[in-house]
């Protein structure tokens, strides 16, 4: 591969091939070698696959032996870049997976955190895969900030702040640059220059800078716990606002508090950096997983603004009648299903009797017929009557001895 090429005698490059494919070649920041370009354009899928396989093999076998595992990844990425001049963002190249794998692998590594190559890879990743997606870019930048990737490198603050400036978030951009300076990121002059030029620019445009942004609390004191869903600093500032007796001032204070509130989801109002406090241990998900449809981006919400009525889905609108209480109907309430009597007999079908035997045969032993039950239910006849008359006649008509005899007869019959 690259090493073998170097040893060979330089050949004259045939530009006609490049000429034909010119529009399909993605320009790289560092430029492209015309020689490799022609080779790549000539190479067929098989060859490309072979090279990819070769690197994959090396990643598995040799990665642990390397002092600088990032170098191997870089070499691989470089090779892919050369193999697919039409752009790493093409699906064929598999660059997305390769680069994400590399980024995830070193995400928590102290060694590479402030390695310029690693940072550049991140920036490149953002540049290639998230062009014109400021929300996504911001997401990744904040993620990097949280994980302190490139926190010692001025390049990181520079890139992030330029994104924020692009998004017209000047306050945050300035804050970020100041943070970079405070972190002694190198080269320091870069950020100082950047900040100065930003301040000048804003002065020119007559945009005031708000220095009281509690933004830094989000970055510096990451382990600050949430108190009832609010941050300690929020509570402190609101407390101090309460202490202030002047109503005008407190209004100002609340306004100020509101100024840095952004809507992420329709119901939840939060700062853009808020998200990353929540899942501090979370890993950056691959683009494929993150790239969901219908995902609503964060929208800045101006303070004390009436959004008007939100459009509602007609079908889900509850009419005024049910505003307070929703009546619930159930057929089973207070009305039971018909009760059946089940009789299981061995060697034959089970029988289900369409009568409630619980009514016919009381627990106390009294038996009732259907007409009796109906008469009782209509208060025309009482159970007492049954019990009373029962006592009277039992002594006269049916001695218990006889009854017992009858019972044993039944049992005998059943045994048969």
């Amino acid at each position: 591969m690259p090493s073998t090429i170097k040893n060979k005698k330089r050949e004259i490059i045939d530009f006609t091939k490049i000429e034909l494919e010119k529009e399909n070649i993605l320009p790289l920041r560092q430029g492209r070698s015309a020689e490799q370009l022609t080779k790549a354009l000539e190479a067929d899928e098989k060859e490309k696959k072979r090279i990819k396989k070769y690197y994959e093999r090396r990643l598995i076998d040799e990665l642990d032996t390397f002092d600088d595992p990032l170098a191997l990844h870089l070499e691989y990425i470089n090779a892919i870049n050369n193999l697919y001049p039409q752009g790493a963002s093409s699906k064929q190249s598999g660059m997305l997976e390769i680069i994400e794998r590399c980024l995830m692998q070193f995400q928590n590594s102290e060694k590479y955190r402030n390695d310029i190559r690693y940072l550049e890879m991140w920036l490149w990743y953002i540049e290639i895969f998230f062009p014109d997606e400021p929300q996504e870019e911001q997401y990744i930048f904040v993620f990097m900030l949280r994980n302190k990737i490139g926190s010692g490198l001025a390049l990181f603050y520079d890139s992030f702040s330029s994104l924020l400036i692009e998004m017209k978030r000047y306050d945050e951009a300035a804050q970020l640059l100041r943070l970079g300076i405070r972190e002694h990121s190198k080269p320091a002059y870069l950020l100082i220059n950047r900040l100065q030029s930003l301040e000048c620019e804003l002065l020119d445009k007559n945009i005031p800078l708000n220095d009281n942004l509690p933004l830094e609390a989000y970055f510096t004191n990451v382990n600050d716990p949430l108190i009832l869903g609010r941050h300690k600093t929020d509570i402190i500032t609101s407390n101090s606002a309460n202490r202030d007796d002047s109503p005008r001032d407190s209004w100002k204070e609340t306004l100020q508090l509101h100024e840095d509130i952004f809507q992420d989801e329709p119901v939840e109002v939060s700062n853009i950096f808020e998200d990353y406090r929540k899942d501090i241990t979370a890993k950056l998900e691959p683009k494929r997983a993150r790239n969901k449809e219908n995902k609503m981006g964060s929208i800045a919400l101006e303070a004390n603004i009436n959004l008007g009525t939100l459009p509602q889905d007609e079908s889900s609108v509850v009419t005024d009648r049910f505003k307070d209480k929703i009546p619930i109907y159930t057929d089973h309430f207070g009305r039971t299903e018909p009760v059946y009597k089940y009789i299981e007999t061995i060697n034959s079908k089970a029988e289900k009797i369409d009568c409630n035997f619980g009514l016919f045969y009381e627990v106390s032993g009294n038996e009732y017929c259907i007409e009796e039950i109906l008469a009782i239910s209509r208060n025309l006849y009482t159970r007492d009557k049954v019990a009373n008359s029962g006592r009277a006649t039992e002594s006269v008509e049916l001695p218990t001895r006889k009854k017992n005899k009858a019972r044993t007869m039944i049992q005998r019959r059943q045994r048969k």
């Binding site: 029988e351 009797i353 009568c355 016919f360 006649t393 039944i410």
Partner: protein, 363 residues
């Protein structure tokens, strides 16, 4: 059914199962009462005169002319009426009900009078000829655990006979009076000696006695229970041993059973049994809303009818057996849960055919 199915399947071209078409000629009396019908009785003197008693507390006399049933007259009780019967001469209708009172209605004059009372609702009554002189009197059975004989002229009963328990069913033919009570007791009374119980036995059926009906010959009786079973009994022990049996009826096999499980049959109470006055065959009707004609002597079913989707509380033949009246109204066998506002309440008069009710010669 077990006894019958084998013989009925070999009965050749005649169908044993009727269809709804066979009921198309029935005369329908819509809304004959404001509540469920409890009893129907035909006049012993006229073919198309009958009375019906209802839970709405009224007894109505109906007359059928030109295929249309017309209400002739009606009278009221203080509570639901449970039973009604005609005197042998066809001039009077007796009834008893939940007001504990026995009433007599004169068809000619349209007057009704109280002729007696029980301590509890009167469940069933019959006109019988009893005693050595064969005098006609009225027997009433009540939930006060007694039956009383009335001579229709005195406010006091001729005699009161204590029963083992509350009277649930009673029937009489010739000299035989059979009383079915709660706790499955059956008391047999010989009407030549009406003041004593000839024999008390326990019902051969496992569950509550629902109905009793005597044979025309007066030598035996059929017993129906809530568990869709009918027993054919004879008073004489020898005959009973030879000819007595019981069979299952009014049950349907549930079509939607879980695969692998044994079929489960749905059982309905047997509500009414009536014997054909000429042929001696009988009809049973049940809570499933179907009635079936049976021949007890040959032990097979003559004709079965499909369920009419409403329980049949009572069936009754007229004096010649040419018409069978049946009521379609809720018999409360499922309690109030089974009742619906739209539950049918009709009386239908079914003209019987010989195919249905005449016993078939043994081949």
């Amino acid at each position: 059914m077990a006894f019958y199915s084998s013989s009925s399947s070999s009965s050749g071209p005649t169908q044993t199962m009727a269809t709804e078409k066979d009921l198309a000629n029935d005369i329908v009396v819509n809304n004959p009462a404001e509540d469920s019908i409890s009893d129907i009785a035909f006049s012993p003197q006229q073919d198309f005169l009958f009375s019906s008693s209802s839970w709405d507390g009224k007894v109505r006399i109906w007359d059928v002319q030109n295929g249309i049933a017309q209400g002739r007259s009606q009278y009221e009780h203080m509570g639901p009426v449970l039973t009604t019967r005609w005197s042998n001469d066809g001039t009077k209708v007796a009834s008893g009900g939940c007001d504990n009172i026995v009433k007599l209605f004169d068809v000619a004059s349209g007057q009704n009078q109280q002729i007696g009372a029980h301590d509890a609702p009167v469940k069933v009554l019959r006109f019988v000829n009893c005693g050595p002189t064969n005098t006609e009197c009225l027997v009433t059975g009540s939930w006060d655990k007694s039956i009383k004989y009335w001579d229709l002229r005195q406010a006091q009963p001729i005699t009161t006979l204590m029963m083992p328990d509350r009277v649930y069913a009673m029937d009489s033919k010739q000299q035989l009076l059979v009383v079915g009570t709660a706790e499955r007791h059956i008391a047999i009374i010989n009407l030549s000696n009406p003041t004593t119980i000839f024999k008390t036995i326990l019902s051969p059926l496992k569950w509550q006695t629902r109905v009793i009906s005597c044979y025309n010959e007066g030598d035996g009786y059929a017993v129906g229970s809530v568990e869709g079973r009918c027993a054919i009994r004879y008073v004489d022990d020898e005959v009973q041993k030879k000819s007595g049996f019981s069979f299952k009826c009014h049950r349907q096999t549930s079509p939607n059973r879980a695969p692998g499980s044994q079929g489960q049959s749905m059982v309905y109470p047997l509500n009414s049994i009536a014997f054909h006055p000429v042929y001696g065959t009988f009809v049973t009707a049940g809570g499933d809303g179907s009635f079936h004609f049976w021949d007890k002597n040959h032990r097979h079913r003559l004709r079965g009818f499909p369920s009419l989707q409403a329980s049949i509380p009572v069936v009754s033949f007229n004096r010649s057996g040419s018409v069978m009246a049946y009521a379609l109204s809720y018999d409360w066998h499922q309690g109030y849960m089974g009742n619906r506002p739209d539950y049918p309440n009709v009386i239908r008069l079914h003209p019987t055919t010989d195919d249905e009710v005449k016993e078939k010669r043994k081949r």
